[in-house]
Symmetry: D5
Subunit: 151 residues, 10 copies
């Protein structure tokens, strides 16, 4: 994955080391003891690791511990892509919001009341669904429901 | 749910009838025989129903069959909200893309190869996860993986 | 307050009745039993009232109870103004974000860790501070701190 | 806090020195004799320090006095983030404006008349509110009310 | 002056009455006892008149007093034109900002310190300067200097 | 004044020399024989100096004459700031246009006919108005009126 | 020419009358005594006619004289199309600016000095150039050169 | 002409050589045997020269022939300025499009039918018109008319 | 196909008549004697029909001949969708441009020289390619190559 | 083809080697065994090559095999141009979408049902059509039809 000038230097170092050692996010996540998506988010500086997680990751990648603060600091998140991403993989999520956003709001709020699904107390995972007509990507999001406060 | 001038007339009629009869998308979806999110998408003109589905829906809502073509026609999709939605419920999905988009791309393509998760051959469903620290919204997306063609 | 075409009809009705009866948000809030800012948010369809709150409000304004569902429904929030508001009162909040946003992030996260101040489990109130050099507007926001989840 | 290319060099130096010496904005503010948020604003070049404040700050950080003019010059403010910030912490303030902006205007102008809360003759402070359901962030803004002039 | 759909109805009524009676802003301003630019700002709902000013204006125009609240209410200001106006008269002010904005900042802050010229405690007037090479438009702005607060 | 990457190199050199020698635009303008705002505009490459003006300026700043062509060349103007500037000093001029633009158009064209105030055959100057309630910034613009041609 | 909702009503009336009577801008311009492009600009409310011109035009179109003020008033110009027009005919002028704008600036300023070609003291005319390889559109613009003022 | 970071390196080299040798586009165009505007377009990489033209140009400027491919390659055109240029000279062309675009379309299509003026099979030239009231810039565009194809 | 407020009235009438009579663009195109895509473009007012074509179309749809001028007039083209369309069918063409635009430019200009494929002297047709793995949409565009003119 | 700062380094290397060796995409594609457009897409990092394809390409260009991973990695696609490209060749495809997008949707969905043409399972090729009135560019796109899923 190349040519994204807004990607942090630490990310580039991690991707290089991962490629060199033939590692995968799936494998590294097992070592670190977390979800592969969360691990990739740490690598892109979209999440902050605990010192212990950072240490394990750097060790597995053969990178020096001096990089540890760059993985545990609280990053300025977002901003890795334009508002509407041009990359087709990323764009599909924008399209899903445009097409299924209001239907989701209607169904969720019908069941939960006026509020939102948290994107902070939130996890997202990926699974591969084998399918004779072509394998499917399954994405499971789980966010705490936050009801609006009346005061 | 009110004040969205880009929402089609047929949608407004359905929401009014649903409120009057005290129906829910969950209940209507059982009658129609489909997912509640898909049903809500039909009501927002983001999906086209089969004639049979449309007939059942109109009947349950007490609306005339003359509206049927408005539910089975192939709509111009999207455009119900600004590019970056201002509504907090909807915005969170934009935030998830900004923060977890590239990590998801990294993990999915590591497992599947160069390609995308289809947003067309695609389903999305909602579940309520009881949790002592506060109920959680679970959203499950499933899209066919489409590998890039080389030619 | 006039000429904002995106303002909902119910809002216009409430503002007219309030002007006619010489009521204030401060006074109405006491009747309804909530904060004046929350009440104004209900009137602009940025918050949903409980049925009891809605009934008290409509009664105080001399408006019919048939409008009640329009105050208790879960609204599509935001969108009453452009992304960067042109009105000078509103713009100042955008300016505060541009100038003091990152300093606030630095100070809050230093004290709380990686996370955000919720805008959902959130209250905001206004006070008048008498000051010989000119009265001051005091705005007090209180939002639950939400730490980022690691998974 | 990393990867924000628009952040001034002097800011980066201060953050590095602060991390190395294990200092906090809270602690530095006591040394300098000002609010932690104001101090952070000085560090981000969103506010200009007095020469005395600048000297104390540089001394505490172990940075040379030659940097003093960079802390006392009148900066071009704003521009550290996009118009609508992608970072979730920062975005919430945009959301608060979108949702509670007009209600705040209605309540403030009802009490003060036609005018604005100054963002220049303005202070903002942060407090931690302990709460059994989860600690809360309290943000207190205080700005001089400026009535519109008729001429 | 026509075809601006965002112009308030009250403005259209005033312009029609003014044209019919052959009045000018200069003449009306004398009757009302204020500056012509301020008066025009009241008519465009960019400023709020005192009840006395509003009464005099309506009387001079032959419009009913029932319109008075529309001239004294505190308007949502701005928004009469796009961010960068297409009209050549209006655009020139944008151009002046683009070309002379930073020079003005340098000269004003050199003389006054870190702060701004208020656009609230502010007046603007127009004069005609006779000039053999072609008459000149003289625009005089006067705004209170607001120094940034340190706290 | 720092951190504006679009500011030309020659501007940075001039600001540095001016600070080192403790000069002001007001003082330099007397030496060069022009208005301080015009001089600042030359320094920002928003105006082209005559060779004589450029020579005097460089001499006063102790800069080499080889920089002369950079002050006399015809620059590509504008572009030093975003379309809507984030800096509060600069933004106020945008706000003045949004709020008082159409009123100014109405008053000027009532007096002059269909046309514009030139931003080319144009001067702008700054004065300090002492005022017991706080000093005021006075900005005087003078532009040739250009009537629209009919052909 | 249809479907442009920003086109003024008076324009629509003129186009309808012109079509009904089988008139052309070329023919009408002879009657009115002006250039066809100027006449079309008057009809689109991009220019103001003299009372005499307006009277002749309305007479030729068989429209009532009560419309005269709508043709002589000073319009808010521009705004008939998006910033970058989608219509291919109109877009080509945007493309010409993108491709040949800086070359034109270099050549014009080399010959005239630092300044601009006025778009106010300006005429534009159209001719048909017969050409065996396909007729050509010739557009001739003539604008007064305005040198920048030094002050 | 300076400070435009999107201007290609080859352009900067040509401008420097031209200034050093005291050459003009008018003079160089005679040597190369083409129009000065076309020549300037070649220098800005908005047009591709023939090898012979490129050789003559480089020779006249005293630049090495190794730069020839940079003048004959087919460039990615446009992109030298923002969509709406901030420079006053360039902006006027945008203004002309906004004000006179639809009138031009009406007059051209009345004479030619449904189609466009080509911006590819296109020339543009500049002349100086002496005028006692001030010299005028004359710009002559000539583009092949392309009728829309029906199929 | 519904809910697109920018779609012309004549288009809505044609779609209604077509649905009522059970006609298709394929069938209508045979009657009119043109390509189905061109016919659909006429119906969307993106192309102008000849009087004969318009007459045949209206007759086949059972619509009155008084609508004929609305099909033969030269329309303002484009503008039926936002710059980046939200509808997934339409968006894919934007994606193709983003992904394959520069490769197409490289291959076409390698074969043809510096120039463009005309979008005016242009046809586009659709075919259905049967394929055991799923039918394919074949789109064939043919546009005259226009070489850039040197002058 | 020059001056596009977002173009990846590997692309620049390939273009340089291709120019030096006098190779064409057409010729290289034969060596690699794929379509010239696909090959150009690989070179622009808009498509990922197989290791075998990458090896053949590098060999033909005389580039080292160490570059192979840069051609086989899964790139972040798009983003080589602004949303609406300024280059005339590229813009025409945007124009085709604006003008013929909805007609294409109408014709394709009439034949295939509610769904889209895939831009992933997709090929695009270029041919030269000799034509006495001027050669034509023929572009053939073929994408799998993806019907919307109902669930």
């Amino acid at each position: 994955m190349d040519r994204n000038e807004t990607i942090p230097e630490i990310t580039a170092k991690i991707f290089a080391a991962r490629a060199e050692r033939g590692l995968t996010f799936a494998g590294l996540a097992e070592v670190v003891g977390c979800s592969p998506v969360f691990l990739a988010a740490v690598c892109y500086r979209q999440a902050s690791a605990t010192p212990e997680q950072a240490r394990k990751l750097l060790h597995a990648l053969g990178l020096p511990e001096t990089l540890l603060p760059q993985l545990t600091a609280y990053p300025i998140k977002g901003g890795l892509m334009p508002t509407v991403p041009a990359d087709p993989f990323l764009y599909r999520f924008h399209e899903i919001l445009q097409v299924y956003g209001l239907p989701l709001k209607a169904v969720v709020q019908e069941a939960f009341g006026d509020g939102i699904m948290s994107a902070i107390d939130f996890t997202v995972d990926v699974e591969k669904e084998a399918d004779p007509k072509g394998d499917r990507v399954k994405i499971v999001m789980s966010g705490k429901f936050l009801p609006y406060r009346r005061w």
